[in-house]
């Protein structure tokens, strides 16, 4: 599958579908998605640390969907789609992994999408921080009742040099 677009992030306008997962909002399934993301990032050539980082970002994003968008309900649909994209910001490899997460739950409040300061030691509010630390690009949107979180991680030369 090839998706054409020109949005300032994807330079060449090409995105090849790598993986599509549809599953219910059951926290016990997070383990399955993490396993898939670990293998996919390894296969793409990300370093071991980057594989963990991207997997963590997806896991935290799914946790937010289950907890906040779906309010803990277990039987709501979540779709995760992964593309290999071309990205202007990484001319050396020209490759990036784009992950799109979709749900039909309550839209997130953009004001709460920034994450909290880490200066205060308190439980909660760390997931967004992990996501932003792990990904090169994070974009949230809502259209037609569907929430969409778009995460992009570039494949840098040092990633492929280190291998998986």
């Amino acid at each position: 599958m090839v998706v054409d677009r020109e949005d300032g992030i994807i330079a060449s306008g090409q995105a090849d579908l790598l993986l599509k997962l549809e599953f219910f909002s059951n926290p016990e399934l997070l383990y399955v998605v993490r396993a898939a993301m670990e293998r996919l990032t390894e296969r793409m050539g990300f370093s071991e640390r980057e594989c963990r980082s991207v997997t963590r970002a997806v896991d935290e994003a799914l946790t937010n969907i289950i907890r906040h968008a779906y309010g803990g309900h277990l039987n709501q649909l979540i779709v995760v789609t992964c593309y290999r994209t071309s990205k202007k910001a990484t001319p050396e490899t020209g490759q990036a992994l784009e992950i799109v997460l979709q749900d039909q739950g309550e839209p997130a409040d953009p004001a709460k999408m920034r994450g909290r300061s880490l200066d205060e030691i308190k439980p909660g509010g760390l997931g967004l921080h992990y996501i932003r630390e792990s990904m090169d690009f994070v974009e949230f949107s809502n259209a037609g009742g569907t929430n969409q979180l778009r995460l992009v991680r570039c494949l840098r030369p040092e990633s492929t040099a280190q291998g998986s």
Binding site: S53, E60, K122, P123, G124, L126, H129, E133
Partner: protein
């Protein structure tokens, strides 16, 4: 995830094996708070040698346990952190907040 508690004198050693994520962190939180708030155990040591993954909800449970230990005047110690667990605590700037040891012997001597 599997979790169990064993005791050496006035110390509770909480053994966790598996992933601490959204599905399992409530159990970790429950055990830690039971030991620290209800049982008033003076020292609780969390064995993380067999924890393969920990997410933000797991970290939140540890922070809650730490706060409970401070409120109770007791101690919460960690040992056996994997690189993944260290990364997550580092990202949260919490690595220096916890008492962290390499192994059980060191934690028991501390």
């Amino acid at each position: 995830m599997q979790i169990s508690v064993r005791r050496i004198d006035k110390t509770a050693i909480v053994e966790v094996a598996g992933d601490i994520d959204l599905s399992s962190s409530p159990e970790v939180r429950k055990i830690l708070l039971r030991e620290l708030r209800e049982s008033r155990t003076p020292r609780v040591i969390l064995n993380m040698e067999r924890v393969k993954y920990i997410d933000s909800s797991g970290v939140a449970s540890l922070v809650e346990g730490l706060k409970a230990s401070r409120d109770a005047g007791s101690r919460l110690l960690l040992f056996g952190l994997s690189p993944i667990a260290r990364e997550v605590l580092q990202l949260s700037r919490l690595l220096k907040i916890f008492e962290i040891y390499e192994n059980e012997q060191q934690a028991l001597r501390a």
